[in-house]
């Protein structure tokens, strides 16, 4: 041990925690009851209470997946060394053997800024979608159209700049769109890693601003057969839902199944009247007309597991149908039959969307000597349709022709098929932990509908990487990674189905406009990163410098149509270069006594950020009189960071501050001096949590208040609007208690306690002034059940 005794009268208590297979257990919660002293964690499951005055103590050790341990300790006149063996808790639906790294350890060994949240966090902060449940984390925001549909925004960047990985495979939907969500079932999510910062070297193109990694759920423990049911209710949009999960495992074979159903009505905002542009819209009983929806998700998994080999198949299908706010499809104000819409707050009328996402994934792991081989193969189909009454925009005919093969209600449809393959080997060589592998992806994208926005395209991409983690000494880790990527995109041409009048030399002729040409582009890129971790008992430091990149998407290269959702004529640029980003990230953590302080500043430079620039021009022919928005590239500088301070005042009382700040500036081009769109304003979340202990039969009870203060955002760029500052309060409470040896989990949340009317700068609906959801009471109950009396039970 490298600790010394500071005072002769005080003594050390050294606890070494191992499991029943003699493996060390780091990351356990080790405490002395009724004492505030926190042990210093050393490697290999060793925990040291450094300065203990003589006396009697009750040692308490708990760790997820293990039965907790209690023992009376008496400190007299010497140091005490205590080995403790933890025994697996067979009730827990978790494969503890596979998971050999705890959260704390993983963060310490990861060079990037990493946040890990578990299903507990999601239950406690349950939002309308997975991303909204994660929004409490500093640096994470969402962009979307209301409570059900949202996409991640990491440090102000989203869409194709954030990668979502689901069970090892990159999730491919319509990432570019703001008006539909991420097709991930939050109830099927047990653990999520959020990587803030450029991560292309690890996740390929698109991870230029970060990654959301939805991990595979833990496997059921051997010889179990059980499940759990989740019941969810929300008052704001009268949501009711359930998620039923069944699992079973013999020693080596297992299967799981889950079904999630949710049904919700129109959501309510604290406003009777809103202004869509300047067009006044009266709301019936505060309901945002036609924002009701439903969701039905199915998941199956089955696989084989032994000590060396594991292979799991995941099959899932998520389906959702949801309405768009009827008075504004996109940003376009519309007069609606209010009486028809207001008859029911649960019906879904036009305009609405249906999204279906099917996934088949195999993940296989093989351990051979010092190798750990991993293979992921996946197929996904994303099918999204937008239905709307035919509206003749621009030069479209006033009456929809009967000869059209596209159904009259189908405004647009996107059908995406993606095949993915990842192969990776992790090799341990002395102080090196070496990872190398390849990724490949083949995509085909087709479109349908009477409105045009993005052309059909095919895309192939291939990447290879090598990553070395060097355990220099027991305090210092070094990281180095290099990655090569190649991708090829083939955009298919598209011609309008209706004629437009072309005026030339005073004569008018009618032409069918070619919106997208046949474009083929190939891109190559080399990215890399170096990093360091330095960990001491009370201090963790990490720094990372790297280059990331992103290949331009079909919309950026080939768009040439009117986006009536924005009143914009969007013009792609087929000669765009891959976007590059240089980033420096630092994270410093200090644990001292009752304090935990984490600061994570970052600095980021893009030499050629791809940007949709609103120009001063209008275009009558291609743009049907709309403002021209063209894709250009400009130099962009960004910096900012997050601050997390936690003060554990007592064993049962803690206070926390989570704050974030972001600054972005375009250094060149038409919008030089302006920021980037959707830049979140500075905000701070203040939390107070009371978690009474020794409240049997209730466990892990909590009462928690979140008060989020958000500054005004006056730093804007066309076509944004300034957003005023606001403060919103949320209250969370929950507890667990046993019914027939099963731990029932109860969570309550009151969101927007004061029904505050505020605008969110990163909402798609911000431009038309739609306030955020009003007061909402969320109730969630999780009841586990067990079909087998476990024989190992003691």
């Amino acid at each position: 041990m490298f600790y010394c005794i500071a005072n002769a009268k005080l003594h050390q208590l050294i606890v070494t925690v191992i499991d029943d297979q003699n493996k060390p257990v780091p990351g356990a919660s080790v405490s002395l009851e009724k004492h505030e002293m926190v042990p210093v964690a050393a490697p290999d499951g060793v925990y040291v209470f450094k300065e203990l005055p003589p006396g009697d103590y009750r040692l308490h050790i708990s760790m997820t997946g293990y039965k907790s341990f209690r023992k009376k300790i008496t400190v007299t006149d010497h140091d005490i060394s205590l080995p403790v063996t933890l025994h697996p808790d067979v009730h827990v639906f978790q494969e503890v053997v596979v998971q050999n790294h705890t959260i704390g350890q993983r963060k310490k060994e990861e060079q990037l800024n990493l946040e890990i949240v578990k299903s507990d966090f999601i239950q406690k902060n349950l939002g309308g979608s997975l991303m909204q449940s994660l929004e409490r984390l500093p640096g994470v925001k969402t962009i979307g159209i209301g409570p059900g549909q949202s996409k991640p925004l990491i440090r102000g960047m989203g869409f194709n700049r954030v990668v979502v990985i689901d069970r090892g495979i990159k999730h491919e939907g319509q990432q570019w769109g703001a008006d539909h969500g991420l097709e991930i079932d939050q109830f099927a999510t047990e653990e999520v890693e959020i990587i803030k910062g450029a991560a292309s070297f690890a996740y390929g193109s698109d991870a230029i601003a970060g990654a959301i990694n939805v991990k595979s759920p833990a496997l059921p423990a051997a010889n179990t057969f059980g499940g759990d049911i989740n019941l969810i209710g929300k008052t704001n949009n009268a949501l009711y839902g359930t998620s039923l999960n069944i699992y079973g495992r013999t020693k080596k074979w297992f299967g799981t199944g889950r079904v999630t159903l949710q049904d919700y009505g129109d959501y309510r905002v604290p406003a009777n009247r809103v202004y869509v542009y300047d067009y006044p819209v009266d709301l019936h009983n505060n309901y945002l007309r036609n924002t009701a929806g439903q969701e039905a998700n199915l998941h199956f998994s089955t696989g084989y597991i032994n000590k060396q080999f594991r292979s799991v198949f995941y099959i899932s299908n998520t389906y959702s149908k949801s309405g768009f706010f009827a008075n504004a499809h996109g940003l376009e104000p519309r007069n609606v039959d209010a009486a028809m819409h207001d008859r029911s707050s649960r019906d879904i009328l036009m305009p609405y969307q249906e999204v279906n996402h099917f996934k088949l994934i195999n993940r296989s792991h093989l351990r051979l000597n010092n190798h750990a081989l991993e293979l992921e193969a996946g197929y996904q189909n994303n099918f999204r349709e937008e239905y709307n009454r035919y509206v003749n925009h621009g030069f479209m005919p006033a009456i929809y022709p009967g000869t059209m093969s596209i159904p009259i209600g189908l405004e647009r449809a996107f059908n995406k098929n993606v095949y993915s393959l990842n192969i990776k080997d992790q090799l341990k060589l002395n102080r090196h932990e070496l990872q190398f592998g390849i990724n490949g992806e083949i995509q085909s994208n087709t479109i349908n509908g009477w409105s045009f926005l993005v052309p059909s395209f095919d895309q192939k991409s291939f990447g290879a990487f090598i990553y070395d983690k060097i355990f220099l000494n027991n305090r210092t880790l070094l990281h180095g990674a290099v990655r090569y990527d190649h991708s090829h995109i083939h955009i298919h041409s598209y011609t309008d189905w209706f004629p437009s009048p072309l005026e030339q030399n005073g004569e008018t002729s009618e032409i069918h406009i070619e919106r997208a040409g046949d474009i083929k582009r190939s891109f190559n890129s080399v990215t890399g990163s170096i990093g360091i971790n330095y960990n001491r008992a009370q201090i963790e430091l990490k720094a990372n410098a790297g280059k990331s990149y992103r290949v331009p998407i079909a919309k950026e290269l080939g768009a040439n149509g009117v986006n009536y959702h924005y009143f914009s004529y969007e013009r792609g640029n087929a000669s765009l270069n891959p976007e590059e980003s240089y980033q420096l990230d630092v994270t410093a953590v200090l644990h001292k006594n009752k304090w935990r302080i984490q600061v994570s500043p970052f600095f980021n430079y893009f030499p050629n950020y791809i940007y949709l620039n609103p120009t001063a021009q209008h275009d009558y022919l291609y743009g049907a009189g709309n403002q021209v928005f063209e894709y250009t590239q400009s130099k962009v500088l960004r910096f900012g960071g997050e601050l997390q301070v936690k003060y554990q005042a007592r064993e049962n009382l803690s206070a926390e501050i989570l704050a974030e700040y972001l600054y972005a500036e375009q250094l060149s081009g038409n919008k030089r001096g302006y920021t980037l769109p959707f830049s979140p304003p500075p905000s701070a979340l203040l939390n107070l949590t009371y978690g009474p202990v020794h409240t049997e039969p209730f466990h892990r009870t909590y009462f928690s208040v979140d008060y989020r203060i958000t500054a005004a955002q006056n730093n804007i760029v066309p076509p944004e609007k300034k957003t005023a500052g606001y403060a919103v309060m949320n209250i969370q409470a929950g507890s667990r208690f046993n019914i027939q040896k099963q731990q029932v989990q109860l969570s309550l949340q009151l969101q927007n306690v004061f029904n505050t009317r505020y605008l969110n700068h990163t909402s798609f609906y911000r431009l038309i002034g739609l306030p955020e959801q009003g007061r909402n009471l969320v109730l969630s109950v999780k009841v586990p059940f067990n079909f087998l009396k476990n024989k190992q039970e003691i």
């Binding site: 300047d278 509206v391 009143f567 200090l590 001063a616 049907a624 910096f639 038409n670 804007i716």
Partner: protein, 160 residues
Amino acid sequence: MKQVKILKTLCITIGIAALIAGCSKDKDAKDTEYPTIDVTASVAFPKQCSELTRGQKFTAKILVADNAELGSVSIDVHHNFDHHSHSTEVTECNMAAVKTPVKPFLLVKSIPIPAGNKSYTVSEQINVPSDIDPGDYHFMIRVTDKEGWQTMKGLSIKIK
């Protein structure tokens, strides 16, 4: 403790950096103002609920202004026989019954504004053909400034 000092220094540095950044924003005041369209001025035409006549020409008078420099104007006339409504004005006009278009009037025109203008009046002669459907129409005006800020107005008009 040395480690605490390091962290403190780091916090302070970040704080100062944030402050500097926060202040530097105000130094070079960027244009964040939207241009304006005056549809109620006495010379402006058409106005909300104006009536036009088929087979006749009229002069659209559009008054636009910006704090820095104007960009361009676009006008769009399309039917509102289905009452889909793009009007941005408070006053409601009397609408005819919903009907199916046969040959509705459609006009899309982009009008550039000479560089360097802070205010400008568009005078555009528009011919309303005699063979088009009479009824309710929308007269949409869009104006941009040089930086790309856009303002829209939607007027309900009638063609007789």
